[in-house]
């Protein structure tokens, strides 16, 4: 019963945040909406007994990633309102049709089965730090190391992109 209440409250919150993110003209509002959705999802993680993931969600997504977004918004400037006239004529109708058909397909799929596979007959799993770590550092240790490499490469790439700026880009800009 408690879970139902939690689901309804945070489900509505997640939807509200998502719609806000898409709809808001000001990107700061978008970021706030997304943060709201992410918090709600963190709550769902908890109610699905994924405690470690929930914490990571809050720290990494709602914390780090969203902060990064906000920094960038600040750098670019919040006062840039975009005008909403669509200059790709078929983009909107086509997007609507595709999204709706995707939703319809999901509904059809959901009526067949939400999950496939064989249920593990053991005790319910609990996503504690210990359990996840046990899994991650034994069975998935190689992918785990590779993600470490990936993060290093991404960090180096980001530094490279931000660091090497040409001084007189206004004159030599080949795009203009």
């Amino acid at each position: 019963m408690v879970e139902t209440v939690v689901f309804v409250i945070f489900g509505l919150a997640a939807l509200f945040g998502a719609i806000t993110m898409v709809w808001a003209r000001n990107p700061v509002y978008s970021a706030m909406g997304l943060m709201m959705t992410m918090f709600s999802i963190a709550v769902f993680y908890v109610s699905n007994s994924a405690h470690f993931i929930a914490v990571v969600q809050v720290i990494v997504y709602a914390g780090a990633v969203m902060t990064l977004f906000l920094f960038v918004i600040m750098l670019i400037g919040v006062d840039k309102e975009e005008d909403r006239t669509e200059n790709l004529p078929i983009q909107r109708p086509l997007a609507l049709v595709l999204i709706l058909s995707f939703g319809a397909a999901v509904v059809v799929a959901g009526r067949l089965a939400w999950t496939t596979g064989i249920r593990n007959p053991l005790d319910p799993v609990n996503g504690t730090v210990e359990a996840i770590g046990d899994e991650l550092f034994k069975r998935w240790v190689l992918p785990f190391e590779i993600t470490g490499l990936l993060l290093i490469v991404a960090a180096a790439g980001a530094i490279a992109l931000a660091f090497f700026k040409d001084d007189d880009d206004a004159e030599v800009d080949p795009w203009r």
């Binding site: 790709l88 086509l94 997007a95 058909s101 995707f102 397909a105 799929a109 496939t116």
Partner: protein, 623 residues
Amino acid sequence: MDLSLSLIIFLPMGGMLLLFGFGKRIGEPGAGIVATLAVVGSFLIAVVLAFDFINGDGPAETVRWFEWLPAFGVEAELRWDQLSALMTLVVTGVGSLIHLYSIGYMRGDPGFGRFFSYLNLFITSMLILVLANNFALLFVGWELVGLSSYLLISFWFERPIAAAAGKKAFIVNRVGDVGFILALMLIFSVFGSLGFDTVFEGAHRGELTVTMATAIALLLLVGAAGKSAQLPLYVWLPDAMEGPTPVSALIHAATMVTAGVYMVARTGAIFELAPIAAATVAVVGGATALFAATIAIAQRDIKRVLAYSTISQLGYMFMGVGAAAYTAGVFHLMTHAFFKALLFLGAGSVIHGMSGEQDMHKMGGLARKMPVTFATMAIAWLAISGIPPFAGFWSKDEILGVVFERGGLWQVLWGVGLVTALLTAFYMTRMMWLTFFGEPRWDDGVEPHESPRLMTVPLVVLAGLSVVGGLVNTPFKATLEHFLDPVFEAVHLAHAPDGSLAWILAAVSVAAGIIGIGAAILRYRSRVPVEDGLGWRLLGNGYYIDDVYAGVFAGGGKLGADWLAFRFDVRGIDGAVEGIGSLTRKAGGWLRPLQTGFVRSYGLAIIAGAVGLLAWFLSRGGI
């Protein structure tokens, strides 16, 4: 046995390597002496090793060097039996004499060391050819003699004619080699091996169908015709006379050109199963013999007379081996090696004495100036004309006898051979008379002189062999036939007739020779007739076969190449390439609008793909 047999090959090979490296430094006459000693050494070893065969019937032996091509079951292996022993003796024996002669003949030539290294290379290659115990090694020797022939024909490569002659020989031989290679492939496909023993025993057991045997034998004939200058691939041999005369004597008369005869004799087991192919060999031989003899009549260049004469005599040998008279063919090969080498060396001596003149119309009256050369060449002349008891009579007569004995249409071939014998006597007499008798017609400043001792000694030895060489296989005492019997014991040999028929045939062929000699003497006795009628010109230019080949093959090839270069390449190949290019460009043009540059369009495509995939999963009835 192992080492000594290998030494037969290794001695000239060592000489060749030594002279390749230090030929110039060793200089003259050291290089010639080294090369000659190497070949003489081989000859002496061969004599010692062959004693077993001469005394009794020593067993055929093989010497395995190393495993060469395991995939083909081919080993580098030598075979020492009576046939290869005989060939080795001929090659090294005649080769020794010609090496000796060359020391005198090539005196002062800037390429002295190079010449002898090539000569040793040739001897090495020829020995590999005759001593090989499988078709693969035989082919290696086959190609190597072709190479050394090419190198020696174009030895004076600064002269464009010599260089062109070398190329011609090489290319024409390639044509024959195609046939040979195809034959080897067929043999391998049938027997799964290239070893002589496996193949011949397999053929004897009947693993070869007649069709397949005929195909193999005809392809082998193509190869043999290329190497042995038979119709239609003979055209390179007359031009090969551009090489130094000892080369003509050694390679293009005595040894290399007989490789085809040797090969047919060696593969007799296959030809036996293919009577049509064997008959083809004989017909090709007979036609070549007559054809070349008619051309030889009208030549003015002394060496070209001998070249066409060689082709003609090779035709005899082919006639013999085609008629399954392998002993007779090999016998004629041997005697021909003696007297034709002698003729060539004698011609070389004449050219040497005449300061390089080769036109017989500018000779005459040399008998007194060059007595040794004249006397030895006269013996060779009688030998090739088939006058008993000289060597040529016995071997030629045996071939003609065998062909007659086969009966039926073979007797037509006998007639051809008889006419050829008459013509041979005629043109040889013509050559002798124009060269040695009559009034001197020398150019001004030419002082004919006898050649040095170094050159006349080989002449004398060869003359001796030309006299007695035929006695090893007479109808009265067929020593050579018994000697070679073990090699051909599996093959059904044709034999010459005996009794009164033999006497009649011998008398007829001697009569033909005497008629030829007599006619020529009558014609050239007192003066040199002007020979420039239409027929003489036709014969003198070899029926213009060279021009026909040049027009048909070279011209046709050029036309084809032109078409390929300026039509097919420009329109076809370039068109296809450019077509693909413009097609790609056009297709790119059509597909260009898909790349709008708007990220959101791409996003749309991704979602469309996702929807499509989902729809596909669902349509399969669940996920």
